[in-house]
């Protein structure tokens, strides 16, 4: 196994067709760095939005209101079923379906009318598509976290006179977080990689920037390596953050870990 790894490594390093020189010259190229900015920015915005919406959908799904629970189950089913790529293309081509979007009363007067193409550019199409998809996944994650907190916790807090909002933020959420954070880290990493799909709607993320460059100079493999190295770097950093957060949570909420720490 070790030998195999060493052989692969040697082949990759010595094969001149990998063009490591080209890789080096493009690694910090301005277009590449801008592309990274777009990829990371999109990941951050999508993650923030889908955390908020995902929590709302999860609360609706676990709540007592039947209609809301049904609606959120439907939402999760729809947006988890449609592949991300299909969604991105769909939102990008929305203009074909509805050339204009307007606010007004159905069949009545319209107050404002927008040109769909102007309103939904590649960036908003990407954010909408990614967010809807991610919200559906995160809602399920948060739901499982909420269900991991025994109902006795809600009851004890209610009996003490705490409101449902206080109970959620002070009692339930901190306990659910312990269950949610590890898979959530994986979600962020998957999302970062999924943003590369937006290259199909010509949004200049990391992958599309790379594609634009190798379309002109035909250095396809070296430039794909540049992209791969950057995805690896960012994922490594995110993994590090995830590890730190998990450790902090376990120290805060798991007395066992706390005792171990102080006895060391």
């Amino acid at each position: 196994m070790l030998l195999f790894t060493a052989m692969t490594f040697a082949t990759v390093v010595t094969n001149s067709r990998f063009e490591w020189r080209v890789v080096g010259s493009y690694l910090f190229e301005i277009r590449i760095l801008k592309g990274i900015g777009v990829s990371v920015g999109m990941t951050a915005i999508t993650m923030a939005l889908s955390l908020v919406f995902g929590t709302a959908v999860a609360l609706m799904r676990t709540g007592r209101a039947r209609l809301l629970a049904l609606a959120s189950a439907g939402f999760i089913w729809v947006f988890r079923s449609i592949p991300m790529l299909v969604q991105l293309l769909f939102w990008y081509n929305l203009a074909a379906l509805f050339p204009t979007l307007s606010l007004g009363i159905p069949w009545g007067p319209r107050f404002v009318t927008f040109d769909s193409n102007a309103l939904i550019g590649p960036l908003s199409a990407a954010v909408i598509g990614l967010t809807l998809h991610q919200t559906a996944y995160i809602a399920e994650l948060i739901r499982s976290g909420l269900l991991s907190v025994p109902s006795g916790q809600w009851q004890a807090a209610a009996a003490l006179g705490m409101t449902p909002t206080q109970t959620f933020f002070r009692i339930v959420a901190p306990q659910a977080a312990r269950v949610i954070v590890p898979p959530m880290g994986n979600e962020v990493i998957s999302l970062l990689k999924a943003t590369s799909l937006v290259s199909v709607i010509s949004l200049s993320d990391l992958l599309y920037s790379v594609q634009l460059i190798y379309a002109k100079n035909f250095q396809t493999v070296p430039l794909l390596i540049v992209a791969a190295l950057w995805y690896m770097t960012i994922t490594g950093f995110l993994g590090f953050l995830q590890h730190r957060l998990e450790r902090r949570l376990s120290r805060q909420h798991m007395p066992a870990a706390k005792t171990n720490g102080s006895s060391l």
Partner: protein
């Protein structure tokens, strides 16, 4: 510190209030689960400072009745009054209107509850468990709430475990923290739902001792229990329930040594042997 807070404590004055003073009143409570009625119109009352033990076979509706008092279960019919106020509702002219969660929370703050499975908050220390509700609900400062926690932990004999997390405490200790947590809200009435049923036998006494002290201090209490000896010892009145109805009630000596009903006799002979 200890002295002043004791002086303000309403339950210290309970002994001077005549026992005819009604605190909790349940009127014709009915409750069904999935079409099966488990409470068939239960009516009874608790006077201020009184300790009432609710006994009966499992499935008789005792716990459901207890949970109706603070509206953890909403009765299908009937009304619970605590201090004259309808629980879960407010008067609107002739009618009663259901309360929102916020208003209901205010009512619940005046009732303490202790659960069979303790239900301490596992991510908080004993001190934080006790101080949380006084801080968030009563809006006490952190210092005031912590002082209350320290005083109550001393009262339940756990002054040295303030910084322990629940999973580092034995069952008996956890239940004592849970009692302290409920007392921190200075409740008018304490509700106990089988407080010793989940405990190992050697830990039952330490919890019962704390409850006995509360009874002696004049706390108004409704206790669902299987501990007959404890009920005889601590209760001013024992209520026997079976199949969702109160079969009979009376002073513990009378009810336990000379039950009037056959069902009470049958139940007692089973649990006393």
């Amino acid at each position: 510190m200890n002295d002043t807070s004791h002086g303000q404590n309403p339950r210290e004055e309970a002994d001077y209030i005549p026992h005819s003073d009604l605190l909790v009143s349940l009127r014709d409570i009915r409750k069904s689960f999935r079409g099966t009625e488990v409470l068939h119109g239960v009516t009874f009352e608790i006077r201020r400072g009184e300790t009432v033990c609710l006994i009966g076979p499992s499935g008789s509706g005792k716990s459901t009745l207890l949970r109706c008092v603070n509206h953890l279960e909403a009765p299908d019919e009937g009304l619970v009054l605590v201090g004259g106020r309808p629980i879960g509702y407010r008067h609107s002219g002739e009618h009663l209107v259901e309360l929102g969660s916020r208003e209901l929370a205010v009512q619940r703050a005046s009732m303490g509850m202790v659960f069979q499975s303790f239900n301490l908050f596992p991510h908080l220390t004993a001190r934080e468990n006790i101080a949380e509700a006084p801080r968030r609900v009563l809006k006490l400062s952190k210092e005031e709430a912590n002082a209350r926690a320290e005083q109550l932990m001393a009262r339940v004999g756990l002054a040295d475990r303030l910084d322990s997390y629940p999973d580092k405490l034995s069952g008996g200790q956890q239940q004592r923290v849970a009692i302290a947590r409920a007392l921190a809200m200075r409740p008018e009435v304490m509700l106990f739902d089988e407080p010793t049923s989940a405990l190992d036998p050697e830990m039952v006494q330490e919890v019962l001792t704390v409850i006995r002290d509360l009874a002696r201090d004049g706390m108004t209490m409704l206790i669902v229990t299987h501990e007959m000896r404890f009920a005889m010892d601590v209760a001013d009145r024992v209520v026997f329930m079976d199949h969702g109805r109160i079969v009979e009630q009376g002073p513990p000596q009378q009810l336990i040594s000379a039950p009037a009903h056959e069902r009470t006799r049958a139940f007692l002979s089973k649990v006393m042997s």
